[in-house]
């Protein structure tokens, strides 16, 4: 073994420690009761085991509003993520595989849109939504999440690279219609790209904060990040009930990060390849 790899491995260990510390702390803190949390000793090590009790408190606090937020997050992430994928994949394929009038102009617009700061659109989208009475409904969160110019760009690059024209022509010669050719021939070839776009758009919707924060005012419609943000405000402003609420915020944060970490771990062979296509040109 060459000596430089020892240095490299030490560096990797240091990086792992840095990137794991907050998650480790969250895991440890989730098992503590309020007393142990504020006791001021050993924030990075266990002190009693109250995870089950904390989870029970989490899901029963304030008529179980956390459970509702969790459900909302799942709904928004699935509806927004799946919807965005269903819209973006055919669009990328269309841009890559058909030459139609105006294609280049429209695609240039889409590329320009990748540069538009999306938060600049939140305020006017709010005003437009309130004009049609959709503010403070699930649609106000789901519909804007369907838009992802970057996903379309990614799928165009991916379709161009992974679907040979000859295969499409062969399918057409066999009498398959355009839609059938897309579903039966092109989609299976684009699968890693499709899964990447799906994961990316689910993550974006799951993590979104600014959009639901502005669009929603009834707490029963909140997704997890907005709900936990609300609890943080309550916990900081209210010192009396604050201590137990901090416990709930901590264990709630743990519950909120588990689903995506599991999704990334189980689907890693897809996204590790797919994530890079946009930058490989």
């Amino acid at each position: 073994m060459r000596p430089r790899h020892v240095g490299a491995k030490l560096l990797l260990l240091a990086l792992c420690a840095y990137f794991l510390v907050p998650v480790w702390w969250l895991l440890v803190a989730s098992t503590k009761n309020a007393e142990a949390l504020f006791s001021g000793s050993g924030a990075l090590w266990f002190d009693g085991f109250h995870l089950v009790a904390n989870l029970r408190d989490l899901f029963t606090f304030n008529n179980g509003e956390f459970g509702r937020w969790l459900g909302n997050s799942v709904l928004y992430a699935l509806a927004g993520g799946v919807g965005c994928t269903v819209i973006s994949v055919p669009a990328g394929y269309g841009f890559a595989k058909y030459s139609f009038r105006g294609r280049n102009l429209v695609f240039a617009l889409v590329l320009g849109a990748v540069m538009v700061p999306l938060t600049a659109l939140v305020i006017p989208t709010f005003v437009l939504m309130s004009n049609v009475g959709l503010v403070d409904t699930v649609w106000a969160v789901i519909l804007p999440s369907l838009l992802s110019p970057f996903a379309v760009y990614l799928m165009r690059v991916y379709a161009a690279g992974s679907v040979p024209d000859e295969l499409l022509d062969a399918a057409r010669l066999d009498g398959a219609g355009e839609l059938r050719t897309f579903v039966r021939v092109a989609l299976p070839l684009m699968r890693p790209g499709v899964i990447t776009v799906l994961l990316l758009s689910i993550v974006t919707t799951w993590n979104n904060f600014f959009l639901p924060l502005t669009m929603l005012s009834s707490s029963k419609l909140f997704p997890l990040p907005v709900g936990i943000g609300l609890w943080t405000q309550l916990a900081s402003s209210n010192n009396a009930g604050g201590q137990s609420l901090w416990n709930l915020i901590i264990v709630g944060s743990l519950v909120s990060i588990v689903p995506l970490i599991v999704a990334f771990l189980t689907l890693q062979k897809y996204w590790q390849g797919g994530l890079s296509v946009g930058s490989l040109k």
């Binding site: 990137f19 669009a91 659109l121 110019p149 904060f209 944060s253």
Partner: protein, 290 residues
């Protein structure tokens, strides 16, 4: 040919969403920003008054200065961490390397709200470990969310949150390099460090440019992390901390939608300008998005 129409049909659903949630709000924001609404006067056409007001507004300028300053530090830092991690992972194989790749990427799966909160807790003087470690050495730890330190506190949060995602992009680009290039360099007498700096880094420059642009667009719109840390930062996060927080306050606390739109638009203009300057400056090194 019907193929032309079919092409449009594949693109159509996306275009509808594009028009409804990008073009329409963009145009509407532009329209809103040209008017003012007064209690007594009602809505009147103001031309570019809102913009001259925005760029002269000390609050907007303060926020803009902050995000520009923050970008100048955080973007090179993130790219450096990501690049070093990717170069090491490209060199080392085995279980530790595979494990590290996942761990470094992990924060990407953590919502920004929670990433900020976790670090906020770690910084916390009442139950965070930083204070406890410092207490063991009998010194007072700096509170990383105080007025003077919040820049560094946020710097750490953002670097932690995004470096792994950028690392994966660079790593994938490194993996796609033809390894015969390394052989050639080795025959020419290059050592591992020279190969990394002279061969690998130039080969992934378009990935680096892409990352730089994404992180620029993201950082100039800075909102979530400071907003979520507001209640525990003891007043360090003011309503004009970043331009986006300012626009949010104007719109949703003071119902000044016209002026807030002008602020959003001005910020969008600055983002566009900075990105355009960057793309122009790097145009010779092989275009991005070509």
């Amino acid at each position: 040919m019907t193929a032309r129409r079919t092409g449009w049909l594949f693109v159509l659903p996306f275009l509808l969403v594009f028009v409804a949630f990008l073009l329409a709000p963009l145009l509407y924001a532009g329209y809103l920003s040209l008017y003012t609404k007064g209690l007594a006067t009602g809505t009147t056409f103001a031309g570019f008054d809102n913009y001259t007001r925005a760029f002269g507004d000390p609050s907007f300028r303060k926020g803009l200065r902050f995000v520009l300053k923050f970008s100048v530090v955080v973007i090179p830092l993130q790219i450096l961490v990501a690049l070093i991690a990717a170069l090491v992972l490209d060199e080392v194989t085995g279980r530790l390397a595979r494990f590290s790749r996942l761990v470094i990427f992990l924060p990407y799966a953590v919502p920004a709200v929670l990433g900020a909160l976790m670090w906020g807790f770690l910084y916390s003087p009442s139950f965070g470990p930083i204070e406890q470690v410092a207490a063991a050495f009998d010194v007072r730890a700096p509170f990383l969310l105080s007025q003077g330190n919040i820049f560094y506190g946020l710097l750490n949060v953002v670097t932690w949150q995004w470096s792994g995602y950028y690392m994966i992009i660079i790593y994938a680009a490194l993996r796609s390099i033809d390894t015969s290039l390394y052989e050639a360099a080795r025959i020419d007498g290059a050592n591992a460090r020279q190969i990394a700096l002279r061969v690998k880094v130039p080969m992934v420059s378009s990935a680096l440019a892409l990352i730089l642009i994404f992180s620029l667009i993201g950082t100039l719109q800075f909102f979530t992390e400071p907003q979520i840390l507001t209640p525990i930062a003891n007043g360090s996060v003011t309503p004009d901390f970043t331009p986006n927080i300012y626009a949010y306050f104007l719109a949703f606390r003071y119902a000044q939608f016209n002026y807030a739109s002008a602020i959003s638009f001005s910020l969008g203009f600055v983002v566009f300008l900075v990105v355009a300057i960057f793309m122009y400056a790097t145009r010779k090194r092989g275009g991005l998005f070509t």
